[in-house]
Structures are given as structure tokens and as C-alpha cells.
């Protein structure tokens, strides 16, 4: 199913250099695989973990104890995920239709050479198809409206919209400069007030917030404790100048997300970081919104000459690679092309050519076969951008992983406790030096 994207991926990546390996020809059979279990965390925010709700563990968590000092059973993640999703658990207020599994088994392999680090991930999807579609724009006879939403959204809960959202494979990387990350990992970034979390922000609160207005954001996303004067209250943001100092000191975490629709279509993974918000690196991402902000019409449609159609309809969902790639199969939208009710065009357009700067550092190849994603993310070593964590031979990093499966975002992912990744150095996951 993903053959085409795979071939595109290969041909577009610049693996010509003698110093860099072609990730497709690395002999992964020779590289040890670390088996991790990722679990469904529900609303286990930084604040919940330090509250009475986390019975018998609030003061230990607040003083900085590591999660696995208590959560160390061989089957701990399986148990925790199943418990949170069993129904009536305070950490999951919603019954998510079709969500059966409380955990995902993830296999991680790592390698590096003089140029790049290569991270290979494998996991089984719950659905018998890859989650490589994302939201669409659908013509309702008059207007183009967004079609398909993540499963935690009310419109999907109420059955008014189908659940459509891309699968993702993410890694957060700390090089030791974020206090507490080595012990509590990604949970430092997850807070009440964020989307789909307890006490979710209101538009008014965001509009009245000095930090969020200064950085031009209109919702609350992942942040690190040190960016707030009270880490448990997203509203207490420090000044932009103080946050710039934290960034300069490296007190942020790297966040690389492989996206099965919006980055996979062009053989890439996105490049971001978490500090006062979940930010994209400088430059330009490989994806952009396809809706015109004024007319709400699509900006691009498929090139009928190349793919045989301008748009699809709902009955064609999950029956092909429905990627709209600016430089390959897209043409400017024609409002007079005889659109009929039910015609659909992707809500995002992807482009490797348009991706620029620090946001365009990461490549990836991936395929989905027999129910399993195999993804190789290629990360250049030694990046010098101010929004990147530079990986180096001999380096050891604290890392956390997340899998988004089955049309969901926000808290609906599976996450890992913190692990270490060593490039030719002792760690939970040891990247092997390639010849």
C-alpha cells in the first residue's frame, strides 16, 4: 500500500554522500532491538501526579523521585494502560469507541555513522490499515468544510464526524539540561489546561495571557516547568526574555514527530522542540494548511492528469495513498471544476521543496505491512541550530517515546517511561556504529 511513498522517499533523500548510510540498506537484522511497552496515560498530568489523586505518591513525585522507582513491575505498563481504559477511571473521562488496547509494544533499534543517527521503530496498528490519512475538506454543495476529526473530539464522540487523524511516532530527547527529565520524562511537559486535559483553557484566558499573546498562540500545549513561575499553572508564563535565556542554555527538549500523512508523504519527519509551548523549529515545515483563510476553499487539488482524479469521495477512504504533494501531484484549485456534494480534497498539502531551514532537518522512510509500521527516522548528527539538540558519537540522552494510533491526538497516545539512548555508549538503547 505504501510502496509508492517508499520509492518516492528513497529517491528524494540525498543519500549520495559516501559518509552516510542508506537507511534502507542498513542490515537491521544485526542491530539489537530494544522492546518497550508504551501505555495509555489518560490525563495523568504533571499536576495530577502531584495531587492526592496519585495516592501515596504525590509528595515523592513532587520531590522528583523517578516514576520507575515505584512503577517497575515487569508488566507495569500493561497494567496501567488497561486500568486507565477499563472504564470509570478518574484519568480517562471519555469512553473512546473502539479503543481496546491499553498498551502498544514498540521495538526500537538505533544506529549511527559519521553523518546521521538512524532510529528504527516497529509497532502493530490496531486497525487493519495504516493511519496515513488526515483531515479533508469536503464540499457540501455550497461550501468546503473540514471532514474527519480526532477521536477525542466531541463531533466524533457524538457520531457527527468520522474519526480521521494520522498515525505518529514521536521521540522527545533531553541532553541532560532539563532538570528532572532523566527521572520523570515526558510527564514534565504534560499539564492541566492543555487541549483535552482537565481545566482546559478557554479562548478568553488565552487572549488575556501575556506569554501566549507575546508568542502569538491561541491554545495551550506542552510546556516545561521552568517556563512558568508556578509550573502547575500555565497562566504564569515567564517573560519572553527569561525564556530566551533558557533556550540559549539548552533547557528545552527536542521533539521529532514522524507523521504518517503530513511528513511521510514526502519522506520526512518533522522537527520541533518543547519549551514554553510545543514549537516547530525555525524555517518551514513540510506541511501547510490547504484551506484558503478567506474563502475556505482548497488552495490545491489533485492533478487529474497525473493521478486520474481531482478529488475523492468518502467511499475511497483507506483505499490508497491520499497524499496531496505540491511538487508532484497537485495543481491550483479550480473553483469552477463542477464540484459535487461529497467531493473531498486533503486539508493539508505537503512539500519537501517548501520545507526549509531547521524545520527540515529530519528524513524518514516507512512502510506498513501485515498490520505493522516500520519507520526509520534519519537525524543528522551535530546540528548547530539554536532549536536543535545536537546528537554526537559517544553521547547519552534521556528519551521518551509516543505512538499515536487509530485516529487520535492530544492525550490519546501511548507513552513510555524515560529511557536512555547512547550513540556507541552504554544505555537502555544502544545505537550501533555502522562500518
Amino acid at each position: 500500500m505504501d510502496q509508492r511513498a517508499l520509492i518516492l522517499g528513497f529517491s528524494m533523500l540525498a543519500f549520495g554522500s559516501a559518509m552516510a548510510a542508506d537507511p534502507a540498506s542498513i542490515d537491521w537484522g544485526k542491530i539489537p532491538a530494544t522492546k518497550l511497552t508504551l501505555f495509555y496515560p489518560g490525563q495523568s498530568s504533571y499536576e495530577w501526579l502531584r495531587s492526592e489523586g496519585h495516592k501515596g505518591a504525590s509528595s515523592e513525585t513532587a520531590r522528583g523521585d523517578s516514576c520507575v522507582s515505584c512503577h517497575d513491575d515487569a508488566k507495569e505498563e500493561q497494567r496501567q494502560g488497561a486500568k486507565i481504559l477499563r472504564g470509570n477511571h478518574p484519568l480517562e473521562p471519555t469512553t473512546i469507541a473502539g479503543k481496546k488496547n491499553g498498551h502498544v509494544d514498540l521495538s526500537v533499534q538505533a544506529a549511527f555513522d559519521a553523518k546521521n543517527a538512524y532510529l528504527r521503530y516497529q509497532w502493530k496498528t490496531q486497525n487493519p490499515f495504516p493511519g496515513n490519512e488526515h483531515q479533508y475538506l469536503r464540499f457540501d454543495g455550497k461550501e468546503w468544510k473540514v471532514y474527519g476529526f480526532p477521536k477525542l473530539d466531541k463531533v466524533v464522540q457524538e457520531g457527527k464526524q468520522p474519526g480521521i487523524y494520522e498515525d505518529r511516532m514521536s521521540i522527545i530527547i533531553d541532553d541532560g539540561k532539563v532538570p528532572g527529565f532523566a527521572k520523570q520524562g515526558c510527564w514534565l511537559t504534560c499539564h492541566d489546561g492543555q487541549r483535552d486535559m482537565p481545566k482546559q483553557f478557554t479562548k478568553e484566558e488565552v487572549a488575556a495571557n501575556a506569554l501566549l499573546t507575546a508568542i502569538k498562540k491561541n491554545d495551550v500545549r506542552k510546556y516545561l516547568p521552568d517556563t512558568r513561575t508556578n509550573p502547575s499553572d500555565w497562566k504564569t508564563g515567564k517573560s519572553v526574555e527569561d525564556i530566551a535565556k533558557l533556550k540559549e542554555a539548552g533547557a528545552f527538549v527536542e521533539l521529532i514527530q514522524w507523521r504518517a500523512h503530513r511528513s511521510h508523504a514526502v519522506g520526512m519527519a518533522d522537527d520541533g522542540y518543547v519549551l514554553e509551548w510545543r514549537l516547530a523549529d525555525a524555517g518551514k515545515d513540510m506541511f501547510s494548511g490547504n484551506a484558503d483563510s478567506k474563502t475556505h476553499q482548497p488552495k490545491f487539488m489533485w492533478d487529474e492528469k497525473k493521478v486520474g482524479y481531482k478529488s475523492i469521495t468518502a467511499d475511497q477512504l483507506r483505499k490508497g495513498d491520499h497524499f496531496l504533494i505540491r511538487e508532484q501531484n497537485a495543481v491550483p484549485f479550480d473553483p469552477n471544476a463542477g464540484w459535487k456534494e461529497g467531493d473531498m480534497i486533503p486539508d493539508y498539502v505537503t512539500s519537501r521543496e517548501d520545507a526549509k531551514g531547521s524545520a527540515a532537518d529530519n528524513n524518514a522512510i516507512a512502510n506498513w505491512k501485515d498490520g505493522m509500521w516500520t519507520v526509520v527516522v534519519v537525524r543528522p548528527l551535530g546540528l548547530a541550530n539554536s532549536d536543535d539538540k545536537a546528537l554526537k558519537a559517544g553521547g547519552v540522552y534521556n528519551v521518551g517515546f509516543a505512538v499515536h494510533d487509530d485516529n487520535i491526538t492530544t492525550r490519546g497516545h501511548f507513552v513510555s517511561y524515560v529511557k536512555t539512548l547512547g550513540l556507541g555508549a552504554k544505555a537502555d538503547i544502544q545505537a550501533v556504529k555502522l562500518p
Binding site: G56, A57, S59, C70, D73
Partner: protein, 116 residues
Amino acid sequence: MSHPAKHRPLIALVALFGLCLSVPAFAQFDAEAAENTFKDNDCHKCHHATKAKKGPALKKIAAKYKEKKLDEKEAIKHMTAGQKVKLDDGKEEDHKIIDTKDVKVQTNVARWMLSH
């Protein structure tokens, strides 16, 4: 646990017989059921078999009970009464209460704990 559940009580029995003839009665238990109850109640998050966590290790509890000639009734009190427990830092906290009132289940957990 690596032993199949069926064999655990037997092994425990043999161990008890061989090592400490002073134990008053042969306490039988279903190890697998006990471990499941123990973990479903989050007890394992504070009590490891051998390692000190927030609560004492099961080995240490078992040794103390043996030394002080305490029995499963005492252990059951600890898991049902919500007594104050003293922590390392001098603070006090209510102990976890097991989610079953079934004395048979409680006894099974207590015996399994004390078999360590």
C-alpha cells in the same frame, strides 16, 4: 514469578518445612491469585519482593514476622485498617486499604506475602 502457579504452594510448603520448623501451621495459598490481587491493588508499587521501595520489601516483612512470631492476622490488619504508616522522612500517611472484604482473599495475600 517464574514458577507455575500450581507448584508455588508446594514449593513454599517444602521451603517452610525444610527451613523453619518453628512455623506453627502450614499456610497454604494460591500464589498466582495472591499476586494478582496484590498487583490489582497497587501494593507492588510500594512493596517489591526484595528491594526497599516506599514500603518495606516482602522479604523483610516476612523475616520480621518470623522473628516476632507475628502471623497473617497482623498482616491483614495492615491492609484493612488504613493505619498510619511512618515514612523515612518522619511524615505519616494512611496505609492503602485492600479493595476486598473477603477474608479468604485477604488471607491468601497475607500468606503469600509472608512466604517470601
